[in-house]
Amino acid sequence: MMTPILEKIALFISVALMIVISYWLGQQSYNWMPVAATAEAKHVDDLFSFLVALGSFIFLGVVGMIVFSIITCRADENDYTEGHPSRGNNKLEFFWTATPTILVLWIGWQSFNIYQQLDIEGLNKIIDLKASESGNKSMLIAQKIPNQIEEIEVIAKQWDWTFRYPQSNITTSELHLPQNKRVRLILESEDVIHGFYVPEFRFKQDMIPNHRLNFTFTPLKEGKYKLHDSQFSGTYFALMEADVYIDSPEAYGQWLQSAHNNILKPSLAATEHAHQPRQLIRSDWPTIEPATPFVAQQ
């Protein structure tokens, strides 16, 4: 039997240890994520790190108590007498109703703050909030936004992505984004619900037929990424991918110049539909025909 003093010391050490481990896991969690390629991604990773640290603390605390009991509190096989005589303990009960309440409020508050920092702007809002701070709204929107913000239309259909650059009159099958500049994506679906998702960007947005949804964000890290459909959209869903590039301002300018002779590629789905791969078990259930690429509009 441990003396009460020793017990307190042991408790203190284990709590300290738990704090250290949870903090360390919280720091590690940044490595579990893909590269952070947008300004928004950093905030999401901070939120995740906070959630991992707090979650680890709770996990270690509860599981630690259970495992400790399993090791130290085993009964003899035929001993069915009482475990311990204490019947309820109001202080303790209050304590553990208060604990989750406080934790939840804390998590909620942090998540709220970080969501606010994302600044992905209200959905469905065509009006730019920043512009509305001063004078004549509609004038400002008409004049300012096209200059400040790069606008790109993203059109999804089963199972193909097309991107339109209305300011430059370009239509392509790969998405190029300018580094360090705010970008507004205008999302449209021609048939079913699709989802815009680039893991390195840390957000996704469903694309609902008949709704033009848009969101803004800031690409930061140059490189090549992959767009994947995130909302199940039928037979060739797994193949609904497109390449995404974040280009330096110069490279972006050059690409806009050269993109006029960019040919629209057939989608992976259309290619696979035309040449079915070898699969061990085939059902050959009928499917919607994959879309053919848009003809570039001039």
Binding site: P85, G108, K204, P209, G234, Y236, A238, L239, S283, W285
Partner: protein, 557 residues
């Protein structure tokens, strides 16, 4: 000699009849309970085989085992069968067996309705599975069946897999509503004298809360299914965007039921933990009243959180934030429960028999399910991992690693009561360890691979995700193997297991006060309840009667 062979003959006749009544329209709640448990277990095995084919496809990055449509059909039916034909009805079966016994009633309030509700399950299930044979193939739009994908009908046949899917969901929904009415009436009206609310075992509380939710929310799903069926078959435009319908409306209706449904599933599992843990720690359930009230709290809050499944569906920011907070509120009553179990275990007299292993394993894994769930409630994080394998990992930690584990705990715990025989402890432990290891090996890798961005419902994936996927697939095959010792144990023990005493665990609760198995009317005389529940420590639950040969035999086992 002649005398004993005559009784043997009579006994075997009775046995034969006993065996046959499980295939009849029987109205005894105990028979119906076992009918449910066995039927749903068969569906669990079928859906498990489907999942192993899915994991077989995903063990390598390209699509090389099954074609794309078949893969979509497989995960749709895997998910649908697991939810609507395993988790929900198996818990109903367990409750069917236990509730009248636990509250000291002779049967359920409406025995015929009870039997009808059961027989709708195999009908709905067989209907659903038969759709694999249709020329159009089975439904392929996922267990959510979001339109417009679900109302596309490239075959043009008037009846396709999706039609069958919707019909069977409607059949199963009707069965659930019948069950809900029956449970509520039984629990509210048929308790034995002295069994007032705060003397009910937690399992009864959780079933009451879960069935209230079922009655309140299920009509939304049934309504949505009927509307979708009209869109699909008769060209109405509730959800069809090409003619002015709103597919997002379906999502609201669907999640208005299907979020609370996760509590319909998990609450009785919490109830099982709350029965098993006190019995094997010899402690009263710590904070009994808080745990009882927390069940209601969970039900109530869970009605107001459904939009967390739609954070990415064009939901405006104010709504996202509102539902983020309501989602996190559920963590409070849930936290109360987890703490109560932990405190019950702390400083107790632990017996690690198989039911307790499954209960503790389930609680530990539920903590992972719960923590990842709160993470998903945080909008900004959810927008990254929603519809990735992170979500798949999270909900399998709940549906398999918590609820299915709780069901195993329950089956082992009440097996002696149901069959009058003991299961084999050694094989039970092997089953536990294979399941515990297999389940973590299968579902843990889904969390990191989801953080990395692997989207769910894809039949081929980027090779960068291959490592974790191999582990998950191997885990799934192990998990499949793990059910073999379980089935062997139950079948063999049922036939030749040691005779079980009435109360092998020295547990409290009225179900242990009658014979094993209980007589048709449950109790010789309806008992009067005078004690608080979980009165462990009282002499009648503390002493092993050394003159009881059965008890000694059991411990020699």
């Amino acid at each position: 000699m002649t005398h004993s062979s005559a009784t043997n003959l009579k006994e075997s006749q009775i046995k034969q009849q006993a065996w046959k009544r499980y295939f009849t329209f029987n109205t005894d709640h105990k028979v119906i309970g076992i009918q449910y448990l066995v039927t749903t277990f068969i569906f669990f095995l079928i859906a498990g085989i489907l999942s192993m084919i899915l994991r077989g496809e995903l063990i390598t990055p390209p699509s090389d085992l099954v074609d794309r449509s078949l893969y979509n059909g497989l995960f749709t039916l895997h998910g649908t069968v697991m939810i609507f034909l395993w988790i929900i009805p198996s818990l109903v079966g367990l409750a069917n067996y236990l509730i009248p016994l636990m509250i000291g009633a002779k049967d359920m309030a409406f025995p015929k309705l009870n039997a009808i509700a059961f027989w709708l399950i195999p009908i709905g299930g067989i209907l659903l599975l038969s759709s694999f044979l249709l020329p159009s193939g089975s439904a392929q739009a996922g267990w959510w069946s979001y339109p417009p994908v679900s109302i596309q009908n490239p075959t043009g046949y008037p009846i396709n897999g999706q039609t069958i899917w919707l019909l069977s969901i409607i059949v199963l929904g009707i069965s659930s509503i019948m069950g809900g009415v029956n449970f509520l009436t039984t629990i509210l009206r048929m308790r034995a004298p002295g069994m007032h609310f705060f003397r009910m075992p937690i399992f009864v509380w959780t079933v009451l809360s879960a069935q209230l939710l079922q009655l309140f929310c299920l009509p939304a799903l049934t309504g949505a299914a009927i509307m979708l069926l009209f869109d699909l078959s008769f060209g109405t435009n509730f959800f069809n965007p090409t003619s002015g319908g709103d597919p997002v409306l379906y999502q609201h209706l669907f999640w208005f039921y299907s979020h609370p449904a996760v509590y319909v599933m998990v609450l009785p599992a919490f109830g099982v933990f709350s029965e098993v843990i006190p019995a094997f720690t010899r402690n009263p359930l710590f904070g009994y009243k808080s745990v009882a009230v927390a069940s209601f709290g969970i039900s109530l809050v869970s009605i107001f959180v459904w939009v967390h499944h739609m954070f990415a569906s064009g939901t405006p920011s104010w709504m996202r934030i509102l539902f983020m907070f309501s989602t996190m509120l559920v963590a409070i009553p849930t936290g109360v429960k987890v703490f109560a179990w932990t405190a019950t275990v702390w400083r107790s007299k632990l017996h690690l028999d198989t039911p307790m292993l499954f209960a503790l394993g389930g609680v530990v894994m539920f903590i992972i399910g719960g923590i990842t769930g709160v993470m998903l409630g945080a909008v900004a994080f959810d927008l990254h991992v929603n519809n990735t394998y992170f979500v798949v990992g999270h909900f399998h930690y709940v549906v398999y690693n918590t609820i299915t584990m709780a069901l195993f705990a329950a089956i082992y715990f009440w097996f002696p009561k149901m069959t009058g025989r003991m299961y084999h402890e050694g094989w039970g432990k092997i089953h536990f360890w294979l399941t515990f290891i297999g389940a973590n090996l299968t579902f843990f890798p889904m969390l990191p691979v989801g953080l990395q961005g692997m989207v769910r419902r894809i039949s081929s994936y980027d090779p960068q995700y291959a490592g974790w996927n191999i582990l998950a697939s191997l885990g799934a095959f192990l998990l499949g193997m793990a059910t073999l010792p379980f089935m062997a144990n139950l079948v063999v023990s049922c036939l030749i297991g040691i005779q079980a005493p009435n109360n092998p665990w020295y547990a409290t609760g009225l179900e242990w006060a009658t014979t094993s198995p209980p007589p048709t009317e449950n109790f010789e005389t309806i008992p009067t309840v005078t004690l608080a529940p979980y009165s462990y420590g009282l002499p009648q639950y503390s002493t092993v009667d050394t003159t009881d040969e059965e008890a000694i035999k059991r411990h020699g086992n």
